[in-house]
């Protein structure tokens, strides 16, 4: 948090979400594509099945482009984005998990080399060598998922890590295995949905139907595995989060709604996969597009819910999304948030930043924009300075609940999805006045109209 601050018009969280969802969809296809294509090519070689072999060949270039071009760049893109939006959290994760990331990188290296070699050697090497290449690719791609899931799960459910600080306690966290199960299913589902487009280009009608049926079966299997994974994953989440899914807090109903939408996507994808499995001749471009959207929707929904239930933390029970550590709440209440966030008073362009606005930039701008996503002007529209100060004081008092919860006590913070306010009275009042000033013009206008 004592890093320079950059406000994005769309909000830092939205920026991360856009890059992450694009990357996640593509990278899951890259993993699932490896597994599905390895199995299909093996079957094609064993049975001397020409249409199946041609299907794999037709799909191979898109696997290469998505995996080594878009996947690689968007993967680096996530890295760049989280480093800019949440530098303190990124640093903390790097210090804890650098060897895990480095291990994932070794698998990615193998993935890229084998993908390039596999696509370049169609019609040049023996089937045996070609199968070796795609199986090596599938192994490497799947292992990269196995490694990265440890870090992603840690950010949501760190398990006993906050007490032990042991790498393995954090890595093998409660949502590690369920997450792998869900993601593996999603990978297979997405791969089947992507490859379905290549199957539609098969000129022979009977062969096309047969290929579509195979892919329908793969899709159905993927949905089954992902569904079991989701079910187990939900049960591995803390009770408080599971209650939110059931709509315990109407103010954050979006989370429960997001979960419902994702489950509906599951249903749509399952119906389409079964339809193609039973009546493969019904497979067509609209059905394939719908299935792909449903598959991507499941994954995007999962990521949205995963990010949502992690709030207000960026690393659960340790660091809030604004970079404040649970362990420094008391100190910052005494010394002031700006003792940690000197950069909040400096803005791009060199404009002098008033105290209240600086406090907003330090504590709120990682989630709230002024007028865009979670726009603070709208949220504060009903507040005058006195009300805002009252609200912020209650949020500051909530800090004690967050500390107690992190210490393992069964305490429910009053504002479950907001970090506590931290700072001195002077900072609190300055922020309250600044929030009230955002709508001063409208208030004056309304008063005048009356």
């Amino acid at each position: 948090m004592d890093y320079p601050i950059r406000e994005f018009a769309m909000g830092g969280g939205v920026l991360i979400a856009v890059v992450a969802i694009l990357h996640v969809v593509v990278s899951h296809f890259a993993v699932g594509g490896g597994l599905v294509m390895a199995i299909l090519e093996t079957a094609a070689v064993k049975r001397n099945d020409r249409p199946l072999r041609d299907l794999v060949k037709r799909s191979s270039m898109i696997l290469l482009l998505l995996s080594t071009v878009f996947g690689a760049i968007s993967g680096v893109g996530i890295w760049f984005t989280i480093g800019v939006v949440h530098p303190a959290a990124t640093s903390s994760l790097i210090h804890t998990f650098v060897w895990a990331w480095a291990t994932e990188w070794t698998f990615f290296l193998l993935e890229v080399v084998t993908a390039l070699a596999w696509v370049a050697t169609w019609g040049k090497v023996s089937p045996r060598t070609h199968l070796l290449l795609i199986w090596l690719y599938a192994f490497a791609a799947f292992m990269s998922l196995v490694v990265i899931q440890g870090i992603l799960g840690f950010m949501l459910t760190p398990g006993s890590y906050p007490r032990t600080f042991s790498f393995w306690d954090g890595f093998l966290n409660p949502t590690y295995l369920p997450g792998i199960l869900f993601r593996t299913g999603a990978c297979v589902l997405l791969a089947a949905a992507w490859i379905a487009f290549a199957a539609l280009r098969e000129p022979d009608r009977d062969a096309r139907a047969r290929l579509s049926r195979i892919l329908g079966a793969a899709g159905a299997l993927g949905i089954g595995v992902a569904g079991i994974g989701w079910f187990v994953w939900e049960r591995a989440l803390p009770d408080s989060v599971q209650r939110l899914f059931l709509g315990e807090k109407p103010l954050i109903a979006a989370l429960a709604t997001g979960r419902s939408h994702t489950l509906r996507m599951f249903a749509v994808a399952a119906v389409l996969a079964l339809l193609v499995l039973v009546l493969p001749k019904l497979q067509s471009w609209p059905v394939a597009i719908l299935a792909l959207l449903a598959g991507a929707g499941i994954l995007a929904g999962y990521e949205r819910v995963r990010e949502g239930v992690r709030k207000p933390f960026v690393i659960a029970e340790q660091m809030f999304s604004n970079g404040v550590l649970v362990s420094e709440i008391d100190r910052l209440n005494e010394e002031g948030i700006l003792s940690k966030a000197a950069w909040a008073t400096k803005e791009a362009g060199g404009r002098p930043v008033p105290l209240g606005e600086a406090v907003f930039r330090a504590e709120c701008a990682s989630c709230h924009t002024r007028d865009g996503y979670l726009g603070i002007r709208k949220i504060a529209s009903a507040m005058d300075a006195e009300f805002a100060a009252m609200f912020l004081t209650a949020m500051r008092d909530d800090g004690a609940n967050w500390k107690a919860r992190a210490a393992g006590k069964d305490v429910k913070p009053d504002y479950a999805f907001m970090p506590p306010f931290v700072g001195t009275d002077e900072e609190l009042n300055a922020l309250a006045r600044w929030l009230a000033s955002l709508n001063a013009a409208q208030v004056a206008e309304a008063t005048h109209a009356r």
Partner: protein, 370 residues
């Protein structure tokens, strides 16, 4: 500027999971591989553009196609090899790196779009050239975009090691380009890229004695590569001098006073640069003098590695000059490190097997192919 007046983020309280020397070593090794790729990509896109403008269309498009084919592979591998040094950099200098990227966020994030567009254009160029069409515009644009990527990397690097400039650049972002050493440093990269691409073209053209019918073309390609590499190396020597005098005084003094540890790599690097010049100048007939072409490639590699050591030392000297050095707390994660090392060996071995099998396995007539 004294450290306490800098707006320097506090050191991450989380210890780093190993001794700093280990991360420095891994950073240098992986960065060296990444930089080879960077040079190939940058140089290939520039030389591909130059070649595709050649009056002799057959020759020009042939060379341009070579570079476009090389680049579609090289870009993937360069990005992949860039991930590891990025990780180790963040472990050692996270607070400097993140601060610079936040301050230059629009350019830093925009770099990804430039990279993606350049990659796409390279693929388009490759398929156009395979189809016998021209691709000067595609290659030219991709070269411009890669130059943009390189410029952003240089600017971010220079800003990250000079915390005293952060506030000024945040207030006025374009002043990031006003660093005295930006231009010579940027040119250093560009010229190295052109040199490597030139030697690579020459070496690939003559590494085996070409058949009689292909001799003239191979010789012309190799000659083109050697000439360009020679010119770029000459300019590099001038630029190297410019870069040296543009480095802040206290940093330069630190380099000079570092004794053998700093002066040996620098001196040997410069000597390797001169040696490269001599070998390139000696090549009259690249086919007859294939050894000189190969030696040039080896000397380039040596000069590059030595210069990377100097670059690494310069970074530390910059940071020391800004009083931004701090010793992070360390802890051991040796078990996890062993897993990383094991996976690295395994994956590298498997990658080598994959490449060797791909190159060597050629079924005979009548045998099945994939």
């Amino acid at each position: 500027m004294p450290a306490d007046t800098l707006l320097l983020p506090a050191l991450d309280p989380m210890p780093i999971p190993g001794p700093p020397w280990l991360f420095h070593a891994l950073w240098l090794v992986t960065f060296a591989i990444h930089v080879v790729g960077v040079n190939v990509v940058l140089g290939s896109s520039i030389l591909g553009t130059i070649a595709s403008l050649d009056r002799d269309r057959t020759f020009g498009r042939g060379v341009a196609r070579f570079f476009a084919e090389v680049n579609t592979w090289a870009i993937s591998l360069t990005i992949t090899f860039g991930i590891a040094p990025l990780l180790f950099l963040q472990v050692l200098h996270g607070r400097l790196f993140y601060s610079a990227t936040v301050i230059l966020a629009p350019a830093w994030l925009g770099l990804l779009l430039l990279l993606m567009a350049a990659y796409y254009l390279t693929y388009r160029a490759k398929y156009r050239l395979r189809a016998g069409k021209g691709a000067a515009v595609h290659l030219g644009l991709s070269a411009l975009l890669f130059l943009g990527v390189a410029a952003i990397q240089v600017v971010v690097h220079l800003l990250s090691v000079q915390p005293g400039r952060w506030e000024g650049v945040l207030a006025s972002p374009w002043t990031a380009l006003s660093d005295r050493s930006f231009l010579p440093r940027f040119l250093h990269f560009v010229l190295a890229g052109i040199t490597l691409a030139g030697i690579l073209l020459a070496w690939v053209s003559v590494r085996r004695v070409p058949e009689e019918g292909a001799r003239a073309e191979a010789s012309a390609r190799a000659g083109f590569g050697v000439k360009i590499a020679l010119l770029a190396t000459l300019l590099q020597l001038v630029d190297g001098l410019w870069l040296t005098i543009s480095v802040p005084r206290e940093v330069l003094l630190g380099l000079m006073r570092g004794g053998a540890a700093t002066m040996l790599p620098l001196t040997l690097g410069i000597a390797a640069g001169f040696g490269l010049l001599v070998f390139l100048a000696r090549v009259r007939d690249p086919i007859a003098d294939r050894t000189s072409v190969r030696r040039s490639l080896e000397l380039f590699g040596l000069a590059m590695v030595l210069m990377l050591v100097t670059r690494h030392q310069l970074r530390d000297l910059y940071i020391a000059a800004a009083s931004a050095h701090a010793a992070p707390a360390t802890t051991g994660q040796w078990g996890v490190f062993a897993i990383f090392l094991g996976c690295f060996v395994l994956c590298t071995a498997l990658a080598i097997v994959a490449v060797v099998r791909s190159v060597r396995d050629r079924p005979g007539p009548g045998e099945a192919t994939a």
